[in-house]
Symmetry: C2
Amino acid sequence: VLIPDDLETPAVVVDAGLLERNLSRMADAAAAAGVALRPHAKTHKCLEIAQRQLAHGASGLTVATLAEAEAFAAAGCPSVFIAYPFWAASGDRPERVKELRTRTDLRIGVDSPSAAAALATAFPGARVMIEVDSGGHRSGVLPDDVGALATWCKSLGLEIVGAFTHPGHSYGSKETVRDTRTDEEFRAALVRGVEAAVADEHAALEAAGAAVAEITGTKPELSGGSSPTASARISSPLTEVRPGTYVFGDRQQMYLSGLSADDVALIVAARVVSAPRPGEVVLDAGSKALTSDRAGWLTGHGMIVEDPEATIASLSEEHAVVTGVTAPLKVGDLVRVVPNHVCPVVNLTSSLTVVRDGLVTGRWPVVARR
Amino acid sequence: VLIPDDLETPAVVVDAGLLERNLSRMADAAAAAGVALRPHAKTHKCLEIAQRQLAHGASGLTVATLAEAEAFAAAGCPSVFIAYPFWAASGDRPERVKELRTRTDLRIGVDSPSAAAALATAFPGARVMIEVDSGGHRSGVLPDDVGALATWCKSLGLEIVGAFTHPGHSYGSKETVRDTRTDEEFRAALVRGVEAAVADEHAALEAAGAAVAEITGTKPELSGGSSPTASARISSPLTEVRPGTYVFGDRQQMYLSGLSADDVALIVAARVVSAPRPGEVVLDAGSKALTSDRAGWLTGHGMIVEDPEATIASLSEEHAVVTGVTAPLKVGDLVRVVPNHVCPVVNLTSSLTVVRDGLVTGRWPVVARR
């Protein structure tokens, strides 16, 4: 990502050419496998990028919130899946869900009898996807419990489209620690973790699919995918994948999805504002720009392209203290930071600065922030 | 903070009565010490709260960014201090700083010769405050180096108003770990850390003040304060304090500033959206609502008022997985979360929901987000 010198900082900058390459790669992989691609739009929250994804053949979009669903449906997205255990009963949500359904093919995640009942009351006949826990242990029912929930959903008059899972354990866990292994050994262990998560994901969806098919008598949609698992393997029994982060990549994905620094299409442009101690500088990108979000196994809060071995040792809201600096950085210098986790970074800015060959070509608004 | 049942969640909710009490307490403490109160507005980013602070006698506001300075100056704040090692040379900043100076008594932090030179070029005669490092080891020069920087600033024609510091080490450090101590012992150790930071803060400012006075021949402003140190002691040599978090309080301040849960004026209202395993629930407030920001010595990502011993064990963007649940929480229930660190939480929402006696009385926009 090449950037001009006079950027107002911090700025979230997207390289349109690299973005396009990332979109193509995933679209091609899904097409080659004959699996629908329904990218998770929480990563970009950006109508311009959603349009590019649909142009590349995406079947629709995945979102996490009602506001995201509304924004993308209003922009013409033909099918939106709220891949979340959505609670439909509060405030004006019943009206909003009904309105949304007139605009798009709406699918909603369920993982509990009570949320299913609330949804059926708010919107009779809603199309649902049953969430199954494939090992991430966040939300979702166990594969053995899919049949009971599907039976309940059917009795409520909900239309069961299929089942979905998020193999969150592809990102490692609290037990994934860097310890004393070499970088190469550690990366290999992470990749083995992704492969194990793929196997878990496919097994859970296969079991869930059999249970759903028994209730509905139709072939269910089986929707999987995180960026690491989708980058590793897209194949049967999946009928759909929902990667999000692949559009930009980030430092986590450089470990998990085999990306190189040259594949990352988004950086945070920051400026050196202080050089208070030998070997240290302070950047004007703190937790309100880079986010504190970080896999426990990553050291530091991002990678500085101009000095990859330096460590962003601590963040406060508008400061990043960088240690181990070896590049000749001085106050006023512009640097590029590959963030650890790109999704919350995008959520911290109202617009993305778009560059092509180092020149700013536009600004894309980030929609549906709170 | 009492809240109505049908809130759209997640929501950042402020209790106007508790807020008022917190504003009064700090204003009274500063007034009693004869020290100016210049609250840090990064915490609330809210014109309505700034107006209340000024009505309580604040001398002006502190901010971290140019956009924050512009927003509060445009709203009529008579004096704004950018307490940050501000880089004045990039993009349209020279014009913006000049425009801002026509609206308010503008003071700008400096901690390097090059940033001072850039500022003097962009805005000749700018009023500056020299940042001194009192032990937080973020930005700022050492007390011994204040004289040289002040001499340089004077030679550039800058007006040196005084010196400032942020005793960030009052929040503990990477070495502050919970270990095997009882809660009481651990809290006492944190409070001793705050007291040590107060001593460091006062000593650094005293030394910086002597150095500045020698160059300017006038009595310098000596500006200190974080919420923990300002809650612990406001006294000479300080002439000004800049606490921010005190307006709301948060879980960190419950350890550091002697606040009880009843003093905290802001909570994140969240809903139980899944109850996938015995003793666990999932809330709809993830890192995009609660922030991943967390002192290393805090366990979990916030305190649930309805179940204070439960642990918010992990956050993803729109999910919080809560373990050790003992309250009878079920899907659809509303809970209140005291966030670990309130400043980034406010920065994650476009408006604060204001309640009084459990009823929503208004919405206050959050300004100057990126």
